[in-house]
């Protein structure tokens, strides 16, 4: 049986009284790229954060590669997992943040080496070789010794992608990876993501880059006010949307 990489059924999330996700159904198959679009406050980032349990799901079912996120099911009950178990499941889910969140006290190389050495227990020499290779892959082979503060936003974000890839994830989550970048730096980051998609990485991308979504995504999902308004082929959803709300959004961002 082919288990989907991400499978969500009626996922709910609220912060206090505010309901942010009102029952999300979504499936991302292995090797697919899924782009989440929608106005700010629509819940797309929250849903992404739920996928690796940075935010806790309050209702419904959310599974990555067949494993429930943050819970263990026994009969009708969902038992919350221990920190150790949550951490173990997060290992093979990579995440890239809007504001990069590189570790500022470490060089680019040390950022990439950190988790393989301290989480996977890889020997330093091997982790170092891998990190050099990854930095070269994102076009920053010559910046290994630089601290984040000495890199441009686009370079920092590419280091962040290399850092996530160092754990050899089966799924990559991108939370508006280009929103904090100067316009001329967006292209380099999108190029890296394009190549990653072409290499067959399963990706869930929250983005405002309609062009990127059209070109790279297998599925485009338009969210508004905590629900999926429409989902499907990006050439359909993003070119000739069936829903009025999608059309209104697209006319604003394009």
């Amino acid at each position: 049986m082919n288990v989907p990489m991400v499978h969500a059924e009626g996922v709910r999330k609220h912060f206090g009284k505010l309901e942010v996700l009102k029952g999300i159904d979504l499936t991302v198959e292995r090797g697919q790229v899924c782009c989440l679009l929608g106005p700010s406050g629509s819940g797309k980032s929250t849903f992404l954060r739920c996928i690796n349990h940075l935010d806790r799901v309050d209702g419904g079912k959310l599974a990555v590669d067949g494993d429930l996120v943050g819970y263990r099911q026994s009969g009708p009950r969902l038992h919350e997992l221990r920190e150790r178990e949550v951490a173990a499941r997060r290992r093979d889910i990579g995440m890239v943040f809007q504001r990069f969140n590189l570790f500022p006290h470490m060089t680019a190389l040390e950022n990439v080496m950190e988790a393989p050495v301290n989480v996977l227990g890889l020997p330093r020499t091997q982790a170092k070789d891998d990190a050099h290779e990854l930095l070269a892959r994102v076009g920053l082979g010559d910046r290994a010794g630089h601290y984040p503060a000495q890199l441009s936003g686009g370079q920092q974000q590419r280091v962040a992608i290399a850092r996530a890839l160092a754990m050899k994830p089966k799924l990559m989550l991108f939370d508006e990876p280009t929103s904090a970048l100067d316009p001329e730096l967006v292209g380099d980051v999108l190029d890296v993501m394009r190549r990653l998609a072409a290499d067959g990485m399963t990706m869930v991308v929250v983005t405002h880059e309609i062009g990127f979504a059209r070109e790279v995504a297998d599925t485009a999902v338009f969210m508004d006010d905590g629900v999926v308004v429409e989902a499907g082929d990006p050439r359909h959803v993003l070119v000739d949307p069936g829903h009025e709300r999608t059309r209104a959004f697209l006319s604003k961002v394009l």
Partner: protein, 320 residues
């Protein structure tokens, strides 16, 4: 319409011929001279004052008794700070924990040790034997005892001083460390968690090293304070510098000269402490681009003595 050709005017040199004249601060030089004159006046009057008995100060400044007191003061400071920082970090993490038991216990600790005078705590530890003659570890309400010792042989004045200073310091240090931890962006924790790092590892590898930048300056303050607060343990005769100074002036009645000896040594030690602090600040300032702080004094003299050198240094900084 504006014209691009400059008018034929002798007073207007080409742009590349313009020299920049930095603002001259004549007032600063006058103030500096006045301050130096005043300081020299004070120093001169102190030097000529016979009531200070400089010969006694000179005689005791390097006396053996003073040195043995210095050694005690130094190790007591180092050990108390080590205990305070280690326990304080633990308490800070407990206070930030989502576990209500840990939070409650750590809050109680801070409340108590910050809320009672240090002098009282020192006396309490020094005279604990008056409260409990024996220290024993066993199972309550039974006769089973694993370990028993006389309080006085366990709590020697040195141990009592260390406990009093260390536990008190832990309460203050915990708040400094807590402030440091909270100053680190939550995105850092999220990034670490998303890489599969567990909370303890995240704290040790990601959060604490960044918190150090905020922690070190107030901890430097605490260390200086601690060095001088060790003087309080003279009340339980722990043979620190101050205890020995008191022992001397109790015999020779030269209170003021002996206090000058003590002050000179405390000043010297505090001065030395700024060296490791500067080193630590540089070490943990890595990657921030603001690691080096140039004092106004150095800027003033750099400006006066080597203007071109400063310009070169500035461009080097900018390139870095």
């Amino acid at each position: 319409m504006t014209t691009t050709t400059a008018p034929a005017d002798i007073d207007r040199p080409a742009p590349e011929q313009l020299t920049i004249v930095p603002l001259r601060h004549y007032g600063r030089w006058i103030a500096a001279l006045a301050a130096i004159a005043a300081l020299m006046g004070v120093a001169g009057s102190l030097a000529k004052n016979d009531n200070l008995h400089w010969e006694i100060i000179g005689h005791f400044l390097f006396a053996d008794l003073i040195f043995s007191g210095l050694v005690t003061t130094l190790w007591l400071t180092a050990a108390s700070m080590a205990l305070g920082l280690a326990l304080g970090t633990l308490i800070a993490v407990m206070r930030l924990s989502s576990n209500p038991v840990l939070y409650g216990m750590s809050s109680l600790f801070v409340w108590f040790f910050r809320g009672t005078p240090l002098l009282v705590q020192i006396i309490f530890w020094g005279y604990a034997a008056a409260l409990y003659k024996y220290v024993m570890i066993g199972i309550p309400f039974t006769d089973i005892t694993f370990f028993q010792i006389e309080t006085n042989s366990l709590l020697t004045p040195a141990v009592a001083a260390l406990l009093a200073l260390g536990l008190n310091e832990a309460a203050y240090a915990s708040e400094i460390v807590r402030a440091g931890i909270q100053s680190v962006d939550t995105g850092q924790t999220e990034a670490a968690h998303s890489l599969g790092m567990q909370p303890a590892l995240t704290m040790r590898r990601i959060v604490l090293p960044q918190a150090m930048r905020v922690i070190i300056p107030p901890m430097g303050n605490e260390t200086i304070n601690m060095l001088k607060m060790t003087a309080l343990v003279s009340i339980i005769s722990a043979h620190d510098l101050m205890s020995n100074i008191q022992a001397v002036y109790a015999q020779n009645y030269q209170v003021i000269p002996m206090l000058v000896v003590a002050s000179l040594w405390y000043l010297a030690l505090v001065t030395l402490l700024s060296v490791p602090q500067a080193w630590l600040e540089r070490r943990y300032g890595r990657g921030t681009g603001r690691s080096g702080h140039v004092s106004p004094l150095r800027r003033m003299f750099a400006g006066a003595l080597s203007r071109p050198a400063r310009a070169k240094k500035d461009t080097k900084e900018a390139v870095r």
